[in-house]
């Protein structure tokens, strides 16, 4: 997907962050351009999920050093909702349940908030229904999911598909998928991956955070980064993921 006209979307330099006084990120560097697919891999506790939450602005995490720009804007100067409205999307590892709030109501509010931000007309429930019924095909979900409460009583796989549905409706510039593959059976994995692939264009980008190589069989990355001890210690092409699958992480840790 790398094309010549690509622009720098996200630029992270020497990012350091902590949670509850514990240092987790110890100098992360990453550049993501439009049209690119990145995978960030690493063992538990390496800082992968923290990295995605810090970028999205989770209040539990404190940035203690470094910078991050999103389309040239200082990301850390923006509130979490402003980052989202600027086009940064995080698919959650553990999607929350919102009892009593229907999926379609949530999607419409989020969509119309973005429309306002972009100076475009809001959609009324009937117009929005047409849009969302089209989008829901991307994740092969039944329309009755729209009237159900957000994630309430959803299976693990349904929750993850629901995240991708939100991505499809909001059309972010940069989507960070935080372990979207975890807990998915092979059919759900295929559906989620097809959904993501169908949303990729030359103007957006995806960062996948994952443990396993198997997701990368479906969503093929341009770059694979290995995170360890709160830093990216190695970057390669998609073959790096295969090597990790075959050899484990220890050899990289030893080399680092």
């Amino acid at each position: 997907m790398i094309n010549k006209g690509s622009k720098t979307m996200l630029e992270v330099k020497n990012l350091m962050a902590e949670v509850g006084g514990v240092k987790i990120l110890k100098g992360v560097d990453l550049i993501v351009r439009s049209g690119e697919v990145h995978a960030i891999m690493g063992i538990n506790g390496s800082g992968k999920s923290t990295f995605s939450k810090v970028l999205a602005g989770h209040p539990d995490y404190t940035v203690t050093g470094g910078t991050a720009t999103f389309e040239g804007k200082d990301l850390f100067a923006l509130a979490p909702e402003e980052r989202a409205r600027a086009g940064l999307f995080l698919a959650f590892q553990y999607p929350v349940e919102i009892p009593g709030v229907s999926n379609s109501a949530l999607l419409r509010l989020a969509y119309n908030t973005l429309q306002n931000e972009r100076g475009l007309e809001e959609l009324d429930p009937i117009e929005f229904e047409d849009l969302v019924l089209e989008k829901i095909k991307v994740v092969e979900m039944d329309a009755n999911f729209l009237s159900r409460s957000v994630n309430e009583g959803f299976s693990g796989g349904e929750k993850k598909r629901n995240e991708i549905l939100q991505m499809a409706v909001l059309e972010p510039k940069l989507a960070i998928l935080d372990e979207t593959d975890s807990g998915l059976d092979i059919d759900a994995l295929r559906i989620v991956a097809n959904g993501v692939n169908s949303l990729l264009t030359a103007d957006n980008a995806v960062v996948m955070v994952t443990h396993y190589q198997r997701l990368l069989n479906y969503i093929v990355p341009d770059f694979v980064h290995v995170m360890d001890g709160g830093r990216i210690v190695r970057t390669g092409g998609k073959e790096l993921a295969l090597e990790l699958e075959a050899r484990g992480y220890d050899w990289i840790r030893a080399a680092a």
């Binding site: 979490p80 909702e81 409205r85 929350v96 919102i98 009593g100 709030v101 509010l109 908030t113 939100q166």
Partner: protein, 478 residues
Amino acid sequence: MSTALHNLVNQPYKHGFVTDIETEVVKKGLSEDVIRLISKKKNEPEWLLEFRLSAYRHWLTMEEPSWASVTYPKIDFQEIIYFAQPKPKKQLASMDEVDPELRRTFEKLGVPLHEQKMMAGVAVDVIFDSVSVTTTYKAKLAEVGIIFCSFSEAVHEHPELVKQYLGSVVPAGDNFYAALNSAVFTDGSFCYIPKGTKCPMDLSTYFRINTEGSGQFERTLIIAEEDSSVCYLEGCTAPQFDTNQLHAAVVELVALDNADIKYSTVQNWYAGDENGKGGIFNFVTKRGLCKGINSKISWTQVETGSAITWKYPSCVLLGDNSIGEFYSVALTNHLQQADTGTKMIHVGKNTRSKIISKGISAGRSSNSYRGLVKIGSRATGARNYSQCDSMLLGDRCMANTFPTIDVQNTTATIEHEASTSKIGEDQMFFFAQRGIGSEDAVSMIINGFCKDVFVHLPMEFAVEATKLLGLKLEGSVG
């Protein structure tokens, strides 16, 4: 709690203005003389004065209840003005005669008195301080035999009905505040739906306490005869004073065979400021009697105001197969205290009741659900389902649930579910990550939480309730 959430909860009260209107008040304090004076001012028949005096004498022997989970300084009942009414007192022949200042007050509150502008065909009885100011659509309702008028008017025009039903559901000596109300009540709404009549429009009462230091003691009596039905709405606001005002109302509902009464309240009395200064003490007794077979009484309440709420709209299910329902949302913020719930008393066979209670606490408030489900020995096949959910915003508020279940018949089926949740940081972050600001997020979460109750509100009330919860919580989440 984030600043956004905090600001969201701490919206100023917008009904806190005082109307500058000439008011006739009886000097403060309570005695048999004051009661006689009120009765005389209202030109009441002897039997009603006797009702008042016997209630007063009984009240003198009673003690203020202390079992509720609320604390407040002792009320000095001699410091309260028991009667205040806007002048002039002459009988109003039409809407045009309503004092323009009073009319502006209700327009500010969104209660237009001009019939042509009436909200979607709802008949309104307006109670300002102690008296009923006007009742709209009276003539139209009279065509189908429905009586909808002020309580005082009913006493004169329909004494036999008032005499028959007054105190039949809430006896004068029922409890401390009901006894006080029975002694000094000044006005209220009266509604009678004759046999076989479906009330063609929603009926509504709008209460407003204006005079500082005055209490409001209104009395509502609704009678639905065989095969009739009515939907009744009640709204309340008060100006902002530093002193507490006492509101001790009594509402009695009677449903005969196959009758159906739906009673909805959106209570937005002034709640006091963020330090708990001022606000209404809302000590109210509401009870419905399902007297006939297959009768049904349904209470829906949205309680957002008052410094203290002490209120248990209840149903006595006397008729076989009768149904009682209670749907409640109670929201407390700052230093508000609410102790509210219901009593479902199953007497008849195959009686059914349903309780859905949603409590939301923010600030340093305290919010308690207190309920009684009682299945009598003759109530074969009785069923109850109760669901009590509490939601906490922030970490300085309190939610309590005090359910009592008393079953004296082995064929009864009782279900009780309860949950406590907190608007979590993860939920807020999820909304933010989807670009949704904290106010919209809280309002969406709260409305989702209250959905099971809101669906039972009439449309225009549901809209008002949704807005109200958003306003009350402005600044409290984040």
